[in-house]
Point group: C2
Chain length 428, copies 2
């Protein structure tokens, strides 16, 4: 008989809830200091004396600032390779020694053994956020605390080591403090860089197990603007035999495993001239996500239901969809600033409801919302043989879509001073 550290009946309770309860930053919704290995799924529970993630230990090794010129945005985004800034941050972790000191160093390749966990078992998760060069000359992140907390949640879900999200946020700021001035020059207000924190399992051991070695890294790069495809974004619902996420799965976590398997259907859609898949769920055909973005519709309810204007998006409670930072911001701004115009509704809704609204002339707008696509107007949804065509003002957007987009954009680029816009103190 092997040892049983916990009563067996606990296994049927939510393992993630337990992990999260061990992480004050997630459990309390505040960035309390968390021991770096508390939440690790290798069975390291409770207090540990191993070092946690600590941004104050950052070791800086600078690249030659004259070695690379900053390309213009169009050139940078034209190739098959992402152009990163001069530096990246890397932080190794080992189960036996905790988190090492973070390093900010010249951008370059990672060396991984062919047996590294991430290459076989998808022990990987990431975040995406942007740094914005404001029209007031200042450099801002948009609600980076939310990305940092979500990355901790994704990390725990994929059995990688926990950390204090406040320390991750500091590291993101540190990278931008160094690379911001050169790569997002004040001469380019309204431009942005894409920040990609990630954690990968690096232990060079085959066998399906939680990795005992990991690497956290952060890059900053160019990324093309995707928020205004000509004529709007065209969506195709997923093939009936291919769904993105499921109840009891991990659709809510930003883990690699949600993305690779979605590519087959997405490519099929692209070959047919559509931009993204509208992922439906279950025999009811609940609308969940548009590609890797959240999805919103504006419709008017039927007369007998009050004829109310509603902004509708899928709920978070069944853990099928990502708790998007842009999604959350849209929901909050709509409640705060559009309360007189429309009702913000988070509920399950089906593609048949969208089609019915279209047929009855009640469908007003639709858009995808996410960091990469920002607020991207949707002009068409094809579901089997039916085409939903969505009105676009001046061929560009609906009015509520445009309003919400401009509010968020104003916060990002400093036209509106708002607590969501976190200013980076740049090293000049």
């Amino acid at each position: 008989m092997l040892p049983q550290k916990r009563p067996a009946e606990d296994l049927t309770s939510t393992a993630m809830e337990q992990k999260i309860a061990e992480q004050p930053a997630l459990a309390n919704g505040v960035n309390g200091h968390t021991n770096g290995v508390n939440g690790h799924a290798n069975g390291t529970n409770g207090a540990s004396t191993l070092p946690g993630l600590d941004a104050s230990k950052l070791i800086i090794t600078r690249a030659d600032p004259t070695a690379r010129a900053v390309p213009d945005e169009a050139t940078a985004c034209s190739g098959n390779e992402t152009i990163c800034t001069d530096h990246m941050i890397t932080v190794p972790w080992k189960a036996s020694s905790g988190w090492s000191a973070p390093e900010l160093k010249p951008y370059g390749p990672l060396s991984l053994m062919p047996t590294a966990s991430v290459l076989h078992y998808a022990t990987e998760c990431f975040e995406g956020l942007k740094a914005y060069r404001g029209h007031d000359g200042r450099l801002r992140l948009f609600r980076p605390d939310l990305n940092a907390k979500r990355m901790l949640m994704s990390t725990l879900r994929i059995s990688l080591p926990g950390f204090d999200p406040a320390e991750l946020e500091k590291l993101i700021l540190a990278l931008m403090a160094v690379d911001g001035p050169k790569w997002l020059p004040r001469t380019r207000p309204g431009s942005y860089l894409y920040l990609r924190p990630a954690v990968i399992g690096t232990q060079p051991q085959l066998g399906v197990q939680a990795p005992k070695e990991a690497l956290l890294f952060i890059t900053a790069s160019f990324m093309p603007r995707m928020d205004s495809p000509p004529g709007g974004l065209r969506l195709h619902t997923n093939p009936e035999d291919m769904i993105r996420a499921w109840v009891g799965g991990f659709g809510y976590a930003k883990v690699g495993a949600n993305y690779g398997p979605s590519l087959l259907a997405t490519n099929e859609a692209r070959e047919r001239g559509f931009g993204q898949i509208l992922w439906l769920y279950g025999p009811e055909g609940y609308c969940t996500e548009a590609g890797a973005s959240n999805f919103f519709v504006v419709w008017r309810t039927r007369e007998e239901e009050g004829g109310k204007l509603q902004l509708v998006t899928a709920p978070l409670d069944d853990k099928l969809i990502l708790d998007g930072v842009t999604r959350r911001s849209v929901v909050e701004l709509a409640r705060e600033r559009l309360a007189g115009d429309l009702e913000m509704v988070e509920r399950k809704y089906t593609i048949d409801e969208v089609i019915a609204a279209d047929k009855e002339g009640r469908l007003v707008e639709a858009f995808a919302a996410g960091t990469a696509f920002f607020i991207c107007p949707v002009s068409q949804i094809r579901h089997r043989d039916y085409d939903v065509h969505i009105p676009m003002v001046k061929g560009e957007s609906g009015q509520y879509t445009a309003k919400i987009k401009s509010w968020i954009s104003d916060i990002m680029y400093g036209n509106e001073q708002h607590p969501w816009g976190v200013v980076v103190e740049e090293q000049q």
Copy 2:
């Protein structure tokens, strides 16, 4: 309006079936020569003049054969790092130029950009098979054609480039021809090495898209024996809020995305003294896989149902489970050699049926079957508060489990000359 290369209604048909139809090796069940890029999900359809995977182009760069000594099995398996042989095979692929010439070269790290697709989007798949040093002194693989074909299927599912599986099989043989004599010496009959072919997306570009660059690689390494845990393998059913795979998902493909997300539940089970999760599916609680292995039970049906002895395992048709090579071999051998003793049944069956059989004294044996765990007797299944205890002969196995295991083992190690045992022509 963007171009539509195919009629839109095709999207709702099975994208994978279409990909497979483009691959003669899979569609016809024979190893016909396939153009290496036909099945690639980047939209490269039909005939292509780009080079396919071609083992005859193999470039060999030998390691210093005296640089590393071969450890004994126990030492090799005692650490936190997989010990590989002197060489590995790597084959780069680009959408623009097809498959490069394969290289057999000294084992060592891979260099990947931090933006490489595999590190973010789980564009990765793998295979696992073993090379066996026979009691007759010869070196054998076990049904490597099945692994090669399955890897093609997994590769297509995860939007990586297609290839001729016969060429992959030749490359696996080539690696063993070079490293077999030293690393599986004739002085160690009954020992094996673990072979790990994998394909990963290497394109250094962020953004959710099928990679335009990939790398196929093959390693050979030690792997601990897992087929005889003391007292038998103890399984715990999965938490109700955590399932492994789902209809419309990718549970049948050997892609990284099936593994990382399973670790959280597996670790929870291990902390409670269980070896693996028995993954149930749906509200009915259908038994699917045991950890990353297939799962079999032997039971006797009720008297009113004939009181027949049956060997039962989950079916492949709903694509929830892996089409295991060991699973297939068990099914085929049971039909061929145990027809007088028991009935081989592939059907959906629930944990409640297993529990009922246990309560009524009809449960005879259970085992996990896979390359890593081989045929591993299961002694216990805990489901919520109920413990199924499975009889073990001499504390080791049930009699049918032992019989099947010895038959397959005899083929692997050359005690029985059989077409499933493919002899490696070693370079001496």
